[in-house]
């Protein structure tokens, strides 16, 4: 229920931002379409902890700046590799164990890896990720497990708290 309300709020906020019209009739139509969309989402069983994970919102927001900075650093590394006249690459495929508890956590971890240039997740099964890395350095950065720990922190503490609300 909480998730349905939150989904409705997000959808209506998006509608307000994108429409830019604020006459009563149009606002009412916006409310109506928001309700219809939430009802459809409910019928399709999309509203659950995985589909609309409000339980980790603020921790996730704190994680984003760190991820952004990692992406910038990785971009510069990979750009340097590409423009060098003699390309020195060492493609590897490695398997990593994600320490997250839920599938959602694993997906956040896998997507973070893919977003970072130099590493792409090419498989995810039962919490074990297959990662293709372009260079040795990119692979070593992942093996150090820093990102894994941070993603686990994003879902971990929030998970225990969210259990009561659902």
């Amino acid at each position: 229920m909480l998730q349905a309300l939150s989904l409705g709020a997000v959808l209506y906020g998006l509608w307000l931002l994108l429409s830019g019209h604020y006459q009563p009739l149009l606002l009412g139509l916006g409310v109506a379409s928001t309700i219809v969309v939430v009802l459809i989402a409910r019928r399709m069983d999309l509203i659950d902890r995985e589909g609309h994970p409000i339980h980790l919102s603020w921790r996730f927001l704190l994680y984003l700046p760190w991820l952004g900075w990692e992406i910038v650093k990785a971009n510069i590394d990979i750009a340097r590799v590409i423009v060098r006249p003699k390309m020195v690459i060492g493609p590897t495929v490695l398997r990593l164990k994600g320490t997250q508890k839920s599938e959602l956590g694993h997906v956040i971890y896998a997507n973070s890896i893919t977003l970072t240039p130099g590493t792409v997740t090419i498989g995810l099964e039962e919490g074990v990720l297959s990662v293709h890395a372009l260079t040795r350095e990119a692979a070593e950065g992942l093996i150090s497990g820093d990102m894994d720990r941070r993603v686990t922190a994003v879902e971990g503490a929030a998970d225990g708290r969210g259990e009561h609300g659902v």
Binding site: L17, I71, V83, P91, T92, V93, N111, P117, T121
Partner: protein
Amino acid sequence: MALLADIASWACLIAGSLFAFIGAVGIIRLPDVFTRMHGAGIVDTLGMGLILAGLMIHEGFTMVTVKLVLIVVFIFFASPTTTHALARAALNGGVTPVVDGKDAPSAKSSERTDGPSKT
């Protein structure tokens, strides 16, 4: 102040274009489909991010900026998904990643359902 914003906006646009260009060069220069995805990764993270940041600075706090932010958010979620779909398609199509110059486990190329093995 307007001049500063203009300079910042142009710096972002030029840097973003540069990264998009480097990403495109990477797609051409890198050897196989998996390594080329890393080149594409540059285009849709820092290339896209800097160009849109430049446009946001140019626009200031307007409705257009809000929509640009939304574009960043959507690309942020869509790009890893598409990259992953591309990688899965390549694996299922029987392409094995080239590992360190030589062909990846050639003896195992027939059994590819479990993905690439640890090297």
